[in-house]
C-alpha cells in the first residue's frame, strides 16, 4: 500500500499548495462572481455579474483592446525572434555571436514595470529620444515628437512587450537549434546548400512548433499582464487586468462580483491558449527526437 501511494505522497505538498491556493482561489473567485459569499455573507446564485459584464461597453472595449495588443505584441515578438535567430545563425558560432546572444537576452534582467518605465523614459514627449531628435533638428519642439506612450494605439505597451518577450521566445528556440549537430550542416553543404538554404530547409521547419507555442505563451502573458498597462496605459479603455483591478479595489463592494467574473473570463481564455500551446510543443518534441 505504501508503494502504491508513494507517487501521490511525494506530490502532495506541491499539489496541496497549488491546488488550494491557486485553484481554490480561482474557484472562490468564480463562486463569488456567481453570487455566493457576497459582501454581507449572503449567497444566492445569479449570473447577474456576467450579464452586466457582457452588456458593459467598458468591458467589451477592454476585451477588444487587450486582445488586439496581445496579438500584435506576440506576433511582432515572434517575427523579430526569428529574424534575430537567422541573423545569428548566418554569422555562425563564435565568441562574437555568443556575446551578441547574451546582449539580446539582457531585457530579461529587468522586471516588467522597470521595462515599461525605461520605454517611457525613452519615448515620452519629454523623453530622451525626443531630446536627441530636437538636437539633431528633426523635431522643432516637444510636441512635434510623436505620441508613443500613453497613446490610443498602445504603442508604448507594445514596444515594452516586444523588448521583453523577444528574448524569451529566442530562449525557447535555442535549445532546439543546439541539438542540430554540425554534421547535418556539413552534409547539406556538400550537397550544395548554402547557410541560408540550410536554415530554410532544415532549421526553420524544425523550430516552427516551438516558435508557435512560445508565441502563444507570450500572447497569454501579454493578454493577462497588469503591470505594464497599469503604468503605460490610457485611462480608457483599460486593459482587462487593470479593468478588473479597478473594479475590485476602487469600485463599490457590489462591483466585486463583476471584477471576479472578468477574472474568470480571463482565466478561461488563457487556459485555452495554454492548452493549444501545449499541443504544439508536444508536436515539436516528437519531431526533433531524431536529431
Amino acid at each position: 500500500m505504501w508503494q502504491k501511494s508513494r507517487p501521490y505522497i511525494l506530490i502532495l505538498p506541491s499539489l496541496l499548495i497549488i491546488g488550494t491556493l491557486f485553484f481554490g482561489g480561482l474557484i472562490l473567485g468564480v463562486l463569488q462572481s456567481l453570487g455566493f459569499m457576497d459582501v454581507e455573507g449572503n449567497s444566492h446564485f445569479t449570473i447577474n455579474a456576467y450579464k452586466q459584464l457582457i452588456l458593459s461597453k467598458d468591458f467589451t472595449n477592454s476585451l477588444v483592446l487587450t486582445l488586439k495588443v496581445a496579438l500584435v505584441s506576440s506576433v511582432l515578438s515572434g517575427v523579430l525572434a526569428i529574424v534575430l535567430i537567422r541573423l545569428l545563425f548566418m554569422l555562425g558560432e563564435n565568441r562574437k555571436t555568443a556575446i551578441f546572444r547574451k546582449i539580446f537576452q539582457m531585457p530579461m534582467l529587468v522586471p516588467h514595470i522597470t521595462a515599461a518605465y525605461l520605454i517611457m523614459l525613452l519615448f515620452m514627449k519629454s523623453g530622451w529620444l525626443s531630446s536627441i531628435t530636437y538636437f539633431v533638428g528633426i523635431t522643432k519642439s516637444m510636441d512635434a515628437f510623436p505620441i508613443v506612450v500613453n497613446d490610443p494605439n498602445s504603442l508604448g505597451i507594445i514596444l515594452t512587450y516586444i523588448w521583453k518577450e523577444t528574448p524569451f521566445i529566442m530562449l525557447m528556440i535555442f535549445p532546439i537549434m543546439s541539438r542540430i549537430q554540425d554534421s547535418w550542416l556539413e552534409i547539406a553543404q556538400v550537397f550544395g546548400a548554402r547557410r541560408q538554404e540550410f536554415f530554410v530547409e532544415v532549421i526553420f521547419p524544425l523550430i516552427i512548433p516551438t516558435w508557435l507555442s512560445s508565441m502563444l505563451i507570450v500572447f497569454a502573458f501579454t493578454f493577462s499582464d497588469f503591470e505594464v498597462p497599469y503604468l503605460l496605459g490610457e485611462t480608457y479603455p483599460k486593459f482587462i487586468s487593470v479593468y478588473s483591478y479597478n473594479m475590485y479595489y476602487n469600485g463599490q463592494l457590489s462591483d466585486r462580483p463583476m471584477a471576479l467574473a472578468a477574472n474568470f473570463i480571463l482565466a478561461i481564455i488563457t487556459a485555452m491558449i495554454g492548452g493549444l500551446a501545449y499541443k504544439l510543443a508536444k508536436k515539436g518534441y516528437t519531431k526533433e527526437v531524431r536529431w
Binding site: 480561482l26 536627441i132 497569454a220 497588469f226
Partner: protein, 269 residues
C-alpha cells in the same frame, strides 16, 4: 560565406543590438542627473543626488531590499523543499491522474496568479495574511513553483535509474540514496530553478501589492511612485538597483554551475 555578405549581416545585427541596448541608456544617465529635462540629452551636471536619496535618506530602501531578499529566499527554500519530491515522482512514476496533476501544477505558468489571489482575497483577510509578509511569500509560490518543478524534472530526467538501482543493491535506503546519489546529480536543476524563482519573486509588483497592500515594502513597491510620474532620477536608481540584483543572481548561478561541472568533469559517461 563571402566576406561582403557577412558585412551586411553585421550591420543589421549591429543596429538591432543598439536598439536592444537603447532602453538602458536613459536608465544609467538619469541616475546620475539633476534637473535633467528636455531638451538636454546629456545631463549638464553629474550628481549622486538620487543615489544619496535612495541609499541614505529614504529609510524605506533598506527595508525594501531586506524584504525583497527575505521573500525571495523564503520562496526559493519552500519551492525546493516541495518541488524536489514532486519532480522525482513526476519523472519516475506513472500513475493515474498524472496528466491532470501535471496540468494543475503547471497552470500558473499560463493563467495569471492574480486571478486566483483576487478570488482568495477574502480568505486571506480572514487568515490575517493580507498586509503580512507571510501572505506575500505564499502568493509568490504560485508563479515560481512551476518553473522550479520544470528545472528539477529536467535534472531528474538525466539521472539514470540504473545508478539508483545499483545503490539499492549495495544496501542503500531511500534517504541515503537521495543524499548520496540523487542530490549531487540534481544540484544544477536546483540552482537553475532557484535562480529563476529568485528572479520572478523580486520582479513581482502586482502580487506583492495585492496581498501586501502597500504595507509589505519591496523594491518594486517603493519604486512605483517614482516611476509613475515622480522623480526620474530616483526611479532610475531603483531601476539600477533591480538590475544589479538580477545580474548578481545570474553571475552567482553561473559561477556555481561552473564550479559544479568542473568538479565532476572526470565523470564522463
Amino acid at each position: 560565406m563571402k566576406k561582403q555578405g557577412k558585412g551586411t549581416y553585421y550591420i543589421i545585427i549591429g543596429i538591432l543590438l543598439l536598439a536592444f541596448l537603447l532602453p538602458f541608456i536613459p536608465l544609467v544617465i538619469n541616475s546620475f542627473a539633476y534637473n535633467f529635462r528636455w531638451p538636454r540629452f546629456i545631463p549638464s551636471n553629474v550628481t549622486l543626488r538620487a543615489f544619496k536619496y535612495v541609499f541614505y535618506e529614504n529609510s524605506n530602501t533598506y527595508e525594501a531590499i531586506l524584504n525583497t531578499l527575505i521573500i525571495a529566499i523564503s520562496v526559493v527554500v519552500i519551492d525546493v523543499i516541495i518541488a524536489v519530491p514532486a519532480a522525482f515522482s513526476l519523472v519516475r512514476y506513472e500513475f493515474k491522474g498524472k496528466f491532470i496533476i501535471k496540468a494543475v501544477l503547471f497552470a500558473p505558468i499560463i493563467i495569471p496568479s492574480f486571478t486566483a489571489i483576487m478570488g482568495m482575497y477574502v480568505v486571506f483577510i480572514r487568515l490575517s495574511l493580507t498586509e503580512s509578509i507571510y501572505g506575500v511569500i505564499l502568493a509568490h509560490i504560485l508563479p515560481t513553483l512551476p518553473y522550479m518543478l520544470k528545472a528539477l524534472m529536467v535534472s531528474y530526467g538525466t539521472l539514470d535509474i540504473a545508478l539508483e538501482q545499483q545503490a539499492m543493491v549495495l544496501g542503500s535506503g531511500p534517504i541515503s540514496r537521495f543524499i548520496y546519489i540523487s542530490l549531487p546529480h540534481i544540484l544544477p536543476g536546483i540552482v537553475t530553478g532557484a535562480s529563476l524563482t529568485f528572479l520572478i519573486s523580486i520582479s513581482q509588483y502586482f502580487l506583492t501589492f495585492l496581498v501586501g497592500g502597500g504595507k509589505v515594502i519591496t523594491i518594486s513597491i517603493v519604486m512605483f511612485p517614482f516611476i509613475s510620474g515622480g522623480d526620474n532620477a530616483i526611479g532610475s536608481v531603483y531601476g539600477l538597483l533591480f538590475s544589479s540584483l538580477a545580474i548578481i543572481n545570474l553571475i552567482l548561478i553561473d559561477l556555481l554551475l561552473k564550479k559544479y561541472y568542473k568538479k565532476r568533469y572526470f565523470k564522463i559517461i
